[in-house]
């Protein structure tokens, strides 16, 4: 099909052509002067380059939108990357950003999200958008970010002298593909479609009028719109490929013209084409033999901003609830007695609440007892394989050294943690174990004081096995005493889910009372392995304690 025979339905949605305002001619101004930075002209583009047409169609589209759709062009920002096409940002008299190679889209993403009232247009080349910036391109499409991306595709890197690129047809020649491009190119419409673009069209610069109409439509589209403009690079690409080798190869302008003529031959307006079939077809020598043109995707769907807006009320509600909880925190005086540096190690396996138990102690000390507290958790390789470890340092003074050196106490809820941490405890230090889960070996350290409590079993009997760590917290508070009971309870109450506060307080008290009892016996409680296994599971919640 020749380019002159346009299927009626492909343009039915577009309005007609209007000639520029004649009065401009009388003033001696070019009708596009208001949108061009005259002081920057002449531009750098070669004769016969398609970029001039691409820019003027873009400007015409903007002017049309200003005139017919009351667009405020001061709210339009243009972002370009690097390359010949990237220079557009420098010529257009709008807020414009000439960024780094390939990065126009993420820059535009920030610009647009931070001010949704802006109309943001990315104008760049194929190397920029599909080559180095390809990842940004598909992600912006995926997000359905409300920007328009105009990509001038001239099948090579023009500015650097005509190197092969991600859109160079297979077999075509380039300065770095003297034997023909041995790679395969992107099909940009298909790439955009796969990314999720809600609008996609392609025209060659030959169809300047249709291109302009499409650009208007693309910019009016809410969501990610993508327009591929196929344009001659008269200096570089046309030098190496037969399309451009026309009448007088020495003349760039002519060469450009030859390419345009070629587009006329092989261009096929076919908006019904599936993007999958929109690849630029070449013969065995890499000569382009067909370019389908038209609007391939127009599929309105909620854009990114809509999704962002929907989140706000939910988030605000959550904030109000959180704020209420914080505001309701009781005011406390804190401790006045001096607490020397105390180190605590907690260990168990994932899911036991080893991390949250440490945090609850730290918070109790720092917020409610008004001491200094530093909480850290194990992130290293030792934290893998289901093991969990956390550490708390408490002191009245500033804590210079945040890590554990020789803990005075340890809360241990698994055999693995016992093996790992028991050797670290300082001499005469205190080891607290869930003796339903930890079996003490024959050679258990006699230079530390060990107390056991069937925390998990007790918690289970209270109806919430997850409160086992809380039993240990109560136990630790009464035996070690580095943090006050009141502070611990307050910290506990604002750390556990509201529905479980009661059971957790019950679990805490149980642990606390058991600890107080055990301390009163003044015995050195070292459970032996034989005694332990039988008694702690007896169901009477009796703590294991063995007099020497």
């Amino acid at each position: 099909m020749s380019a002159d025979k346009i299927p009626a339905d492909s343009i039915s949605h577009l309005s007609g052509y209007e000639p520029p305002d004649q009065s401009d001619w009388e003033t001696g101004l070019h009708p596009m002067d208001s949108l061009l930075r005259g002081e920057r002209l002449p531009h750098i583009w070669c004769q016969g380059c398609g970029l001039g047409t691409a820019l003027t169609t873009f400007i015409s589209a903007l002017q049309w939108l200003e005139k017919n759709k009351e667009w405020d062009l001061e709210k339009v920002a243009v972002v370009s990357g690097i390359g010949c096409s990237g220079r557009v940002a420098g010529y257009i008299r709008l807020d414009s950003f000439h960024t780094t190679h390939g990065r126009a889209i993420p820059f535009a993403t920030g610009l647009k999200i931070a001010n949704p009232n802006l109309k943001v247009v990315v104008f760049s080349g194929d190397g920029d958008i599909a080559g180095i910036g390809g990842n940004h391109f598909i992600h912006a499409a995926r997000r359905n970010l409300d920007i328009t991306v105009i990509c001038v595709n001239n099948f090579n890197y023009g500015m650097t002298g005509g190197q092969v690129g991600s859109t160079t047809p297979h077999g075509a020649r380039a300065v770095t593909a003297q034997y023909g491009n041995f790679e395969y190119p992107f099909n940009l419409p298909y790439l955009a479609a796969a990314g999720g673009a809600s609008f996609m069209a392609r025209w060659t610069v030959l169809h300047a009028r249709r291109l302009e109409w499409t650009l208007r439509e693309a910019m009016e589209h809410r969501g990610f719109s993508f327009v591929e403009i196929i344009a001659p690079c008269s200096t570089a690409y046309a030098r190496w490929n037969p399309e451009g080798k026309g009448l007088d190869p020495e003349k760039l302008r002519r060469r450009g013209l030859e390419v345009i003529k070629h587009y006329k031959e092989i261009g096929k307006i076919s908006p019904e084409t599936h993007p999958k079939d929109a690849d630029v077809k070449v013969d065995e020598n890499g000569v382009i033999i067909e370019i389908v043109e038209g609007k391939f995707i127009d599929d309105p769907k909620p854009d990114l901003q809509e999704a962002i807006d929907q989140m706000a009320p939910i988030a605000e509600k959550k904030w109000k609830a959180a704020k209420r909880a914080i505001d309701n925190r009781p005011k406390v005086k804190g401790r006045t007695d001096k607490v020397p540096r105390k180190e605590l190690q907690l260990g168990g396996f994932g899911g036991q609440g080893i991390i949250s138990a440490g945090k609850i102690i730290g918070q109790a000390a720092a917020i409610y007892d008004k001491l200094e507290a530093c909480f850290t958790q194990s992130y290293g390789p030792e934290a893998r394989g289901g093991a969990a470890g956390s550490q708390v340092v408490i002191s009245s003074d500033l804590i210079h050294y945040p890590n554990i050196t020789e803990p005075e106490s340890a809360i241990i809820m698994s055999q693995g943690a016992y093996e790992k941490y028991a050797p670290l405890i300082t001499e005469k230090g205190i080891l607290l174990i869930d003796d339903g889960l930890v079996v003490l070996p024959e050679n258990h350290r006699q230079d530390i004081v060990t107390y056991g409590i069937p925390a998990t079993k007790a918690a289970e009997e209270m109806g919430n096995i997850r409160a086992a760590n809380t039993v240990m917290l109560g136990f630790w508070t009464s035996i070690v005493g580095a943090v006050s009971k009141e502070a611990m309870k307050l910290s506990l109450a604002d750390s556990v889910p509201p529905k479980t506060v009661d059971v957790n307080i019950k679990a805490f008290d149980y642990g606390y009372d058991r600890g107080t009892e055990l301390k009163k016996t003044k015995a050195i409680p070292i459970p032996t392995p034989t005694e332990k296994t039988g008694t702690t599971h007896s169901g009477d919640k009796k703590s294991s304690i063995n007099e020497p």
């Binding site: 930075r37 002081e39 920057r40 001061e74 709210k75 920002a77 972002v79 940002a89 420098g90 008299r93 709008l94 807020d95 414009s96 950003f97 000439h98 960024t99 780094t100 990065r103 889209i105 993420p106 820059f107 535009a108 993403t109 920030g110 610009l111 647009k112 999200i113 931070a114 001010n115 802006l118 990842n135 940004h136 992600h139 962002i308 706000a312 939910i314 988030a315 605000e316 959550k318 904030w319 914080i326 540096r341 945090k359 730290g362 918070q363 720092a366 917020i367 200094e372 507290a373 530093c374 909480f375 850290t376 992130y379 290293g380 934290a383 210079h400 050294y401 945040p402 050196t405 020789e406």
Partner: protein, 409 residues
């Protein structure tokens, strides 16, 4: 600041990374673009929860290159913007950190340092990106980098970073580390009215005719002040242009040696000439010091313990803690070099800031580094022994044990 809704105040037992996020919100940050990376991910997590509560936007970009660009875009829309990352992501950000510097774009980049190079030690501490912070992007420039040693300071310095970024129209780095980022301590968040918040100088509609507006006004002849050109934001009608190319006052490319000189002059002098305002240090016992520990971040904090012990042993040791690492405290160290015997520089890398100290000491005082690769904070015993060595005292063995006992007393 009119938007106060959604700000947290009061005392909190808070993760360092969270504290940084809260600091940013208080400073007025309303756009965060990032990418998950240990140990900085919690900043993104916090931001993703908090931004929608406060009328801001959090977005996870496709990578750190995109994150860095997105915050530049956000800033040019007039919104205070930030990203946070760690080593590998920091490397990816270097390209467009340069763009931010060149475009003179206020924004904040947090690097919660981990052990490197490459993927290195994702979960464990390092201070190995200190020179990358200074020189990581190509070309010549000055940068501002701050180093916190606790969650509270991470909070405070993130606010400070925004203030400096806005005042000097430049990206500012907060060089934290895995230890500080993953540590939970008390963080006191004051009422917003009690905090100084600086916002960039802006031209507003009507201030100046768009044709006369200069996005990079040459302020060298202006008296006093910080001499930073007022900024415009997209959509205000100034129809300005900015480019990563060497440019003139209008932001138009100026491909000449003279043009480059004009750019460099402005980018560098706006920071060098204002060092007194930008550089913050903490000085401790410097008056009588024979040995000065120069350190930053977590290493300065852990050095306090061996410093205390060394003092007890009778060594006159002081501390110069670099809160602002870049620009470097050259004058201060030059002056100290004339009066002290030696510097001790503990840092979790194989020797980075120690070279700066050596450069400034210029042979007038000895310089001892305490270095170890990433993974752990420095051994206090090793720092103590280095202080002893620097003071000419005998080095002792089994220091860890001794040190530990003494501190327990």
């Amino acid at each position: 600041m009119k938007e106060q809704k959604g700000l947290l105040t009061g005392d909190h037992f808070m993760l360092g990374d969270y504290a940084a996020a809260e600091g940013a919100l208080l400073a007025g940050c309303r756009f965060f673009a990032g990418y998950p990376i240990t140990p900085a991910t919690e900043i993104a997590e916090r931001m993703s929860t908090r931004m929608p509560q406060i009328g801001g936007v959090y977005i996870q970009m496709e990578d750190e290159i995109a994150s860095m660009n997105a915050i530049l875009g956000g800033s040019w829309s007039g919104v205070k913007s930030m990203t946070a990352t760690s080593g590998p992501g920091f490397s990816l950000m270097m390209e467009n950190l340069g763009l931010g510097i060149m475009l003179e774009t206020p924004c904040v980049v947090i690097n919660v340092q981990r052990g490197g190079p490459s993927t290195g030690l994702p979960t464990l501490v390092g201070q190995q990106d200190m020179m990358q912070a200074k020189w990581g992007s190509h070309g010549d420039y000055e940068i501002i980098a701050l180093c916190p040693g606790s969650p509270q300071e991470f909070f405070d310095l993130t606010i400070r970073a925004f203030n400096l970024a806005e005042k000097y129209r430049t990206p500012v780095l907060v060089m934290a580390d895995a230890e500080v980022g993953h540590m939970t301590e008390k963080v006191v968040i004051p009422d917003p009215e009690e905090i100084e918040i600086i916002s960039r100088p802006m031209v507003r509609k009507g201030d100046v005719e768009p044709d006369h507006f200069r996005i990079y006004r040459d302020m060298t002849h202006c008296k006093g002040g910080v001499r930073v050109s007022p900024m415009a934001k997209a959509g205000d009608g100034f129809r300005f242009h900015v480019t990563g190319l060497t440019h003139d006052e209008r932001g138009y490319p100026d491909m000449s040696a003279k043009g480059n000189e004009w750019n460099m002059e402005r980018l560098i002098s706006k920071i060098r000439d204002n060092k007194d305002d930008i550089i913050w240090v903490e000085e401790k016992d410097l008056d009588d010091a024979e040995v000065v520990v120069v350190s930053y971040g977590i290493s300065a904090r852990t050095a306090l313990w061996p410093i205390e012990l060394a003092r007890k042993e009778g060594i006159r040791v002081g501390l110069l803690r670099l809160i602002t690492v870049w620009p470097f405290s050259e004058e201060k160290i030059r002056r100290l070099a004339k009066s002290v015997k030696a510097f001790v520089v503990p840092e979790i890398n194989m020797g980075q800031i120690v070279r700066e100290v050596e450069r400034c000491a210029a042979g007038e005082a000895a310089v001892f580094g305490v270095h170890r690769p990433g993974g752990e904070v420095l051994d206090p015993a090793e720092v103590l022994n280095t202080i002893r060595k620097a003071a000419g005292h005998p080095v002792q063995t089994e220091d860890a044990v001794i040190a530990n006992q003494e501190i327990q007393e």
